[in-house]
Amino acid sequence: MRRINPIPLAAVGIIALLALLVPYLGLPDPVRIDVPNRLAGPSWQHLLGQDEVGRDILSRLLWGARSSLTVALLSATIACVIGTALGVMGGFLGGVVDLLTIRAADIVLCFPPLLLALLVVTLLGPGAATLIPVLALVYLPGFVRVAYAGVLSVRHQEYVEAQRALGVGKLRIMLRTVLPNIGGPVLVQFSLAMASAVVLESGLSFLGLGVVPPSPSWGLMIGAARSTMAQTPLPLLWPCLALTLTVLSMNALCDAVRAAVDPHGVPPRQRRWLLPALLPGLPFRAGASLAVRDLTVAIDTPAGAVRPVRSVSWSVAPGETLAIVGESGSGKSLTGLAVLGLLPLVARPEEGAVLFGERELLRMDEAALRRLRGAELAMIFQDPMSSLNPVHRIGTQIVEAIRAHRPLSRRSAWQEAVALLARVGIPDAARRARSFPHELSGGMRQRAMIAMAIANRPTLLIADEPTTALDVTIQAQVLELLAELKAENGMGLVFITHALPVVAEIADRVVVMYAGEVVEHGPVAEIFTRPLHPYTAALLRSAPPEDGSLPQAIPGTVPLPQHLPAGCAFAPRCVSRRDACEAAPPPLEQAAPGHDTRCIRWREWQRLPVTQGAEA
């Protein structure tokens, strides 16, 4: 739990302190009537003036705080203790107890709280003595719910299961393990109940159903001052102000408590992601459809910028397939997103250029880039379930892509969407177009995603792990489909994946990324037969071999961009490591025309026989 914001805490503290110290402040008697001086303005004896029967307003205000907070504190405490106990028992014991506590709480929750309080108060008669149990009853179900939910979530966690296995009694587990763990949500609920009880108490007193006159209460004061408010508004405004300030600081304290208990919802800082300055003209491969040059992506964190993509360069020609491979966390997807200007808000391109034909995408304004996206430049995302909008029909989502770039009527766009679905091999496309994403299988969803991406015949398609979520047969069909589309349109394809067997099938050239950098780049045949970087070799060994022998996993994990080693990023996991590897980051060197590697020992690997490559 983090620290609670001190400002609302201090405000509530001051109010509570005043309420506590009221009897010792030497204030006039709050119930002493002084009719001759009724509605008198402020004076030295009566700092805030006198009310409609001449009682001291300041004194009544502070005594009112005392009664209001007392009622709120007692009722919230009673509700908290009983409600939490019931919720914990219901959650932990289950069965009949569960049914009795939780269902009963649900039924009480159905009643509007004010209506419930009102019914009970009118039946039992007004007064502070009934107010406390009534408010406790109103807030009880909230605590039952919160505690119940808390118990259900910790009940099956390992440390609770472990204690059970050790034979610790249920009661002990409840008291020792579960209670401290649900403390946070219960505390939030408690502060909510306190704030709400102050409002409800004043409301009931205002109606004459709460605190009984002449005892001071804010609700009563407001109710009484209403009749004279046209002539003297101050006696009305003071209790309104006191009540509002109290509830405001209590609500602020609720938010602070919630923020301290629940670390979510801390907004990340928003960042513009256009580059500040233009780079001078960069050389790019002639005839390339898309060329990425020295792209660096930065994420600003409180501890400084981290760079999950560093100085990455590659290009794709029309009709060519470039595969970008690497483990999770290697920066493959971020590179793809940076090209389309779709990086998450926290990330921004820091350096480099992306050339699409003659245009430089990183420095293009958003409106111009938007006209390219989905038209000439399209992208397929990894998880089709989350990447499709669950509330719109598949057909509608494709129509949207079409109409974003071409002025077609809804009807003809719909016909085109159906044709596209048929084109990507969805049977009964006219009916399927009316389906929602959750009504389709994973393979169908990915096909729909592809249909959406090719809707405007892009010249370049970036596919981010388009087959990861699919089973092997569907995978093969999707790959076949992509190959066909490429052949049809002369489309360039950037295929981001961690599955090497897929790469062998589809790619012309391969870029291997590790920890945000390109570590090897070359034609697919060379990469597979004679890898010039130990990481590529390790990746190849980690793919399931065709002879049925066991794949060899790469020990360790990709280092986080904020914890990069001083030398070669792969050195800590590399079986061919030398001392020189850890001295300085190795440069990307050209081993052969069109084949680059970032390993200082590449000459040794080049001499090894084919199929062994780097460190066999």
Partner: protein
């Protein structure tokens, strides 16, 4: 099938609520005959009380009363008021539309302010507009409704004399006055509902905007307005509608304070008076109508929810 089951559950819920109210009101001390006859703090004559009890059927066993009560309900008869022999259903249905109108106008005002402002604040998160709107919503949420109502009366009725301080005029008698009298109480209710919708919309938009499908929409080249309306707001409305439904439910019967401040003759006032007079049939009638409406509201919201989120639709 699913709808039928929902309606069945709803009916059982209404029956439970009606029974609980029936029992609670009779098990609590306070004899309606005695209360009706006590005027000016003088205890009534025991014989007169007994006669009235007999006349009202209060001396029968609770079980007999319960049976008679529910037989009446099944034939659509809510009974007659103990205090003035008026038909309960007549009274309830005269007052109900007024409260519903109040809630509807308040909901409309809240939806039209809370949702657009919440969307705007979320899109400008951390900016001056967001901070200003958050501050105002927090303040608005912290001022109790009867304080808002009283202050509105002070400013607009007493000081500026722009609007009537309260009361009710039927629409057919004087449309302008009717609207003027509904306006302030509705805005008072909205002052507590709009910030809730604002906060929920803001939170939901902030959540939805980071989802993958929004990125897909941008990748399609959809214009920013289309992304925000069709892919962000559309999805964010799902939790907002849930919260709206919950609050509308609490407003049924929860408008007591506002009706009191503005002297508005709605359903809540009727209930308070009836409870005070131990007017059993009237209390039961009002609570029954409120719970039926509450359950109907929940059913409607389930259907609306199905429209908003196709994933919860059933075959």
């Amino acid at each position: 099938m699913w709808v039928l089951r929902r309606i069945g559950v709803a009916l059982v819920l209404v029956w439970i609520v009606a029974s609980v109210v029936f029992l609670a009101i009779r098990l609590v001390p306070g004899d309606p005959a005695e209360i009706m006859l006590s005027q000016g703090g003088v205890s009534p004559d025991a014989a007169v009380v007994a006669e009235l009890r007999d006349q009202l059927g209060l001396d029968r066993s609770i079980w007999d009363q319960y049976r008679a009560n529910f037989q009446g309900l099944l034939s659509g008869d809510l009974g007659v008021s103990l205090t003035d022999q008026a038909s309960v259903s007549g009274q309830v249905f005269a007052r109900l539309p007024r409260t519903l109108e109040l809630i509807a106008v308040a909901a409309l005002v809240s939806v039209l302010t809370g949702i657009p402002l919440g969307l705007l604040a979320a899109l400008r998160r951390g900016g001056w507009f967001d901070r200003l709107a958050m501050g105002l919503a927090g303040l608005s949420l912290s001022v109790p409704v009867f304080v808002v109502g009283t202050l509105l009366v002070l400013v607009f009725a007493q000081w500026l004399a722009l609007l009537p301080a309260g009361g009710f005029t039927p629409f057919r008698t004087d449309p302008t006055r009717h609207v003027a009298q509904v306006l302030m109480p509705a805005i008072t209710i909205a002052s507590s509902l709009a910030p809730v919708l604002f906060g929920m919309t803001r939170a939901a938009v902030i959540d939805v905007i980071t989802r993958d499908h929004v990125r897909t929409a941008r990748a399609k080249g959809v214009a920013p307005a289309g992304v925000v309306l069709r892919h962000v707001l559309r999805n964010a409305l799902i939790p907002v509608v849930t919260v709206l439904a919950l609050h509308l439910g609490t407003l049924l019967g929860g408008t007591v304070l506002v009706e009191y401040v503005f002297n508005y003759p709605g359903l809540s006032g009727l209930l308070v008076d009836a409870v005070n007079a131990r007017d059993y049939p009237m209390v039961q009638g009002v609570v029954l109508v409120i719970s039926v409406l509450f359950v109907a509201l929940n059913l409607t919201m389930d259907l609306v929810y199905g429209v908003l989120d196709p994933r919860v639709r059933r075959a």
